[in-house]
Symmetry: C2
Subunit: 366 residues, 2 copies
């Protein structure tokens, strides 16, 4: 890390690649000779048009998004998209299925219910405290649903889908806020993918929506203008002023993945390596516990605990003083959580493990 900077394990907003930050800093007052900061640019200007079009095309390239999918940049975060999904995709039959595998998938279901005539829970792992993802044979699917909604990676509970659920003709909608671009995705298997950008893509303030063309154009009449997918697709996400600066970062970060990391396959290899280091360490000792089912473990958010809330607090405090930040678990579950998104270098994970091991030795019980 650059001098004075720390390892930031925040679940979101999150660490950004340092080479991207350095580039943005260099361009901060005067972007490529334009005489102005990207922060100050008219979204209707030629210079900004190249930025937003570059963000769309590089994202399309890196994620290998097929031509029959639109890429939109909308406001409201993933929570906004909970409503927007139902409004845009839920008007055909008014029915939709939701898998509840954690906090945000539950939030999506709750928000969907506001707009849908028939929102159902296709499966939930609440009885298991969301420590696992439901299996295909646990899904009770409505063949007439307008979509099945899943949250791909459960940031708070540290679980992730490792298989793409079979839904027949029902479009699959996935909230990929905390996994987007961490690995290759076969976009053609989804009706829609969306993500708040503040974990793997950019600073907070925009949601990326990747949606199959044939699914849009039937928004409910109560859909706010800015969330009408068809109209936003038609207007290149510029019905009104878009969040221009986060979109600029989508361009920079996707270029970083393509040009410096070497694409999503290389990104996945690096993420697997980091996650393996941490899970292998956790499995090799008995001071820290992780209750997440082995096959459902997230590559992005690693949750663990000592089993003693006072000790967990001490861990959070001491780690913070030692140059690691945001290791405290989510308030819903307690314990600790290390979010190791794309931009977290391997050295950060190695340093964390060294710290954890030292802490364990100094606080061993019995």
């Amino acid at each position: 890390m650059l001098d004075g900077r720390i390892y930031n394990f925040s679940a979101g907003p999150s660490i950004l690649p340092e080479s991207v930050l350095l580039k943005a800093k260099e361009q901060f007052l005067n972007y490529e000779g334009s005489g102005m900061s990207v922060l100050e640019m008219s979204h209707r200007s030629k210079v900004y048009d190249e930025i937003i079009c570059g963000a769309v095309s590089t994202l399309r390239e890196v994620m290998e998004v097929p031509d029959n999918y639109k890429i939109l940049f909308l406001q409201g975060g993933a929570t906004g998209m909970f409503a927007a999904t139902a409004m845009n995709l839920g008007s055909r039959t008014g029915a939709a299925d939701y898998v509840v595998s954690g906090n945000f998938s539950g939030g999506a279901y709750k928000e969907g219910k506001k707009y849908l005539k028939d929102a159902r829970i296709a499966a939930t792992t609440e009885a298991d405290h969301f420590t696992r993802i439901p299996k295909q044979n646990e899904l009770v699917l409505n063949p007439d649903a307008d979509y099945l909604h899943v949250c791909w990676n459960n940031t708070i509970f540290g679980t992730t889908w490792k298989y793409i659920p079979e839904t027949g003709n029902v479009p699959l909608v996935a909230d990929m806020s905390s996994s987007i671009l961490s690995e290759p995705v076969d976009v053609s298997r989804y009706g829609m993918i969306y993500a708040g950008v503040q974990k793997n893509l950019a600073p907070a303030g925009v949601a990326v929506v990747i949606v199959r063309e044939d699914l849009i154009g039937n928004a409910m009449p109560i859909t706010p203008k800015i969330w009408d997918f068809a109209e936003q697709a038609d207007k290149n996400s510029m019905i009104n002023t878009p969040p221009t600066y986060p979109i600029y970062f989508i361009k920079l970060v996707t270029e970083w993945i393509r040009d410096e990391v070497g694409g999503t396959k290389a990104m996945k290899a690096l993420n697997e390596e980091k996650a393996k280091l941490l899970y292998d360490y956790l499995d090799s000792q008995n001071f820290y516990k992780t209750t997440v089912a082995g096959e459902d473990r997230s590559m992005m958010n690693v949750v663990f605990r000592t089993g003693d809330p006072d000790l967990d607090k001490e861990f959070a405090d001491l780690s913070s003083k030692s140059g690691f930040s945001n290791l405290k678990g989510h308030r819903l579950v307690g314990g600790m959580r290390a979010s190791i998104y794309n931009a977290m270098p391997k050295e950060g994970v190695e340093a964390l493990i060294a710290f954890m091991d030292q802490f364990a030795k100094e606080h061993k019980r019995g």
Copy 2:
């Protein structure tokens, strides 16, 4: 201006104060010893909490917002707030009045109609091509309306309200996107004020809502969670991840107004001085025309034209090559527009007048 930077007359997103940009650049990689960029900070962290609370309190201080008003930072821009206003304030009688004095006030009315049982146009100056603001005696007001909505400054047409309309007991709602903080405002005269920040406050991506406490808590059931004013007020605008970076700029820009400019009175004096320079020049010659009624002229957006579309185009092209940007008028009206928001230095206006005068001499007809 700093070396290489130009005078940016964009209507929004717009020029930012250079001292603010310099401070943000200095803090870019490592905010006040936190070891991270503001772009990377968890919105739930102590360091960020100070930023967002600082933005709220400095805005409250500078605008002298009374204690019985909530200040919210929401996503969706002013266009999003068109819907959110109706959803939150329009559920008592389901009736609301709109003054249509330009493009955005018309958009607010159109969006309001989606959610209101009885949306009415209280007055419109469309027949005058929006070159003026309606007078009090032209307003046909519904005494049972949940609110009267106005757009305070019409960015495209270059007009602005110079009086606060009398509405009896009906709360007045004002979209102040292109005038907020340009002058003192008696907030107590309004039920609600809102503004997209990308003109006078911060980079694009957040809308500021200032709303009287007693008006919230009755949102329509279809209100998206992120736009429920009461819930957002309760959660300090953090129902989900807020647009953290623009909010940081709200803090920096309001501090700039307070500490460097000397408050909104001083800001107004500076803005009046800049606008007077430009209007005095326009009134002193006959090469350029401005059709805006004298008493309704905007201090923020000055529209003018040569009367010859080819010459207007030449003006836009040549000014752009001469270190002035975004002087082309809005596509709806053509001609030219100089947006001279808070951050535009007086020198920028003087340089523009010199350029205009030179251009007029070189292109004089007849």
